[in-house]
């Protein structure tokens, strides 16, 4: 599929992602934050599609938007948020935190201004149609060990989550 109007879609999706990000950290109500985060995630999935990474985009939608965020919404509903909504939203060190973040941003700007020449101008056009197969070859070939470790990590996480959340085991 030929990408159409790349520039327009990039700015649209980037704008949505940033809007979502800003809403996530500013909303009082955690449910609204979660919804904003879903917006960001979906926009990022669109960006992955534009970057010729359809498989990652699909995984992003299924796992992130359909799985992890449902878990978040679940927990938000279980813990009562009314009380948290009435309280102070930002902690006492928020000025310091903001300054640190701004410093980090300045660092990014510095790196990108100085080092933009390092990136090759030309971008590869990886064949989209075999994307899934190539990722599979990497996952079950070069990265097999990492893949197994990841599955172990998930097992540990499942057990950990059950132990944490259950009242009586």
């Amino acid at each position: 599929m030929q990408p159409v109007a790349t520039t327009f879609f990039f700015y649209l999706l980037a704008g949505l992602a940033l809007l979502g990000g800003v809403l996530v950290i500013t909303r009082k109500n955690a449910v609204h934050s979660a919804l904003a985060l879903i917006l960001t995630l979906l926009a990022l999935a669109g960006l992955y599609l534009m970057l010729y990474a359809p498989f990652v985009a699909g995984v992003q939608i299924i796992l992130y938007a359909g799985g992890i965020m449902v878990l978040f919404l679940f927990v938000i509903m279980l813990v009562s948020i009314e009380k948290a909504q009435r309280e102070e939203q930002f902690n006492r060190q928020w000025v310091v935190g903001l300054l640190a973040a701004v410093a980090l941003g300045a660092l990014f700007v510095f790196v990108y201004v100085k080092g933009s020449a390092l990136f090759p101008e030309r971008m590869m056009l990886p064949p989209e149609s075999s994307n899934t197969q190539e990722i599979a070859t990497y996952l079950y070939g070069d990265y097999l060990f990492a893949f197994e470790i990841a599955s172990l990590l998930l097992l540990v996480a499942i057990i950990g989550a059950v132990v944490m959340a259950k009242k009586r085991i």
Binding site: V31, L35, F55, I61, I62, V70, L73, F74, M77, T132
Partner: protein, 436 residues
Amino acid sequence: MLDYITSYLRMDATPGQAGNIFWIVVYIFVVFGGVSLAVVAMNWLERKALAHFQVRLGPMRVGPHGLLQPIADAIKLFIKEDIIPAQADKFVFWLAPLIILCAAFTTLIVVPFGPTHAITDVNIGILFMLGVSSLSVLGIVMAGWASNSHYPLIGALRSSAQMVSYEVAMGMAVVSAILMTSLSGFGAFGIGGAEPGTGTLSMIGIVQAQQAQHVWFIFKFFPLGFVALAIFAVAMVAETNRAPFDLPEAESELTAGFHTEYSGLRWSLFMLGEYTAMIAVSSIAVTLWLGGWLRPFPNGLSGETWDLIFSLFPGLTFLFLAAACFYSTARMPKHPYFRIQTMGLGAFGAVLGLIGIVLFVPAVRDRIQDIYWFVAKVAVFMYLYIWYRATFPRYRFDQLMKVGWKVLLPMGIGVLIVTAAVGISPEMLALLRHGH
């Protein structure tokens, strides 16, 4: 300009792949409009079929045999007062039905009604469908939370737990079908024949793989394909929250579940989303196991004559429906009160008959029959949905979870492993025999 528009007709690809914006728009309108119409028809059909299961007549008053009942329902829902509970989170309350609707309709983008009859074909097609349809959980959770009431909240928690857990079993069944696309299986008993790099996730590619292998995946490695379809067929009923898995909206326990507080238009959006999701998951099942748009008996009854005979089916179906209409017209009461209804039914039959005649025209016939077979197979699943609803009691929540996690998931994993083992067994044997 005209060339640009018509260029698609000569192409051998979906409009999305051809990049033809005009035809993309036309297809979107046709598919979305068609599915909405199908939902309306399904609404009528469900009430009628369910009524006949239960020795009732169903809607009979609005139009002949209640044919106009869906329209009357729609008007009633439109003019009903739109109630938003005072304590509800208004924005989320407003957003939830839209999310469900968008998720359901977006999946239709990649549904292949024919080799070129799809809005577009993406190479992660099935992944895209599963992913987007799983987004409707968000809508349900949001609806339950935003209503700010106990029953919707419990219903939403139940339904999201249910949908998330059945997605896993569903995924396993789907993966086994995807695995089959790369196993061309020309060995003894159709076993073996793994060809590296031929597998696909594309919806059109999956059907084409079945065409190339001369077997629908339901019959492949019998009974593996059949078991996988059975797992999927159960999981998809749970996924769409229909009987006997309609726990989230169990009337006797939770009144109407997550949409208890919704009424009027918003409620009808939920219904539209639910029925569209039913059509979407049914079309996944049809695409993956029942050969998508392929006509039945491609091997046994092959040859030009049979091709011709099968291509007459769409027209014949419409003629049959027209004949049924005319028969009912003749049987309508001869009272003046029924005159308009009788005339309307006759006219409806005439329209159906005309469509049927048009469908016999060779040019139309060739383009329409893919769609016809696809829709017919989906219709079988929709009928099953109604049948389940008339027959089965409802599961209890713990039993539902037990079925999902302890029955369907192990079965799905087993089918997946056995499919893989059967698929590569000759290669494995050769490897074992000859060393490395």
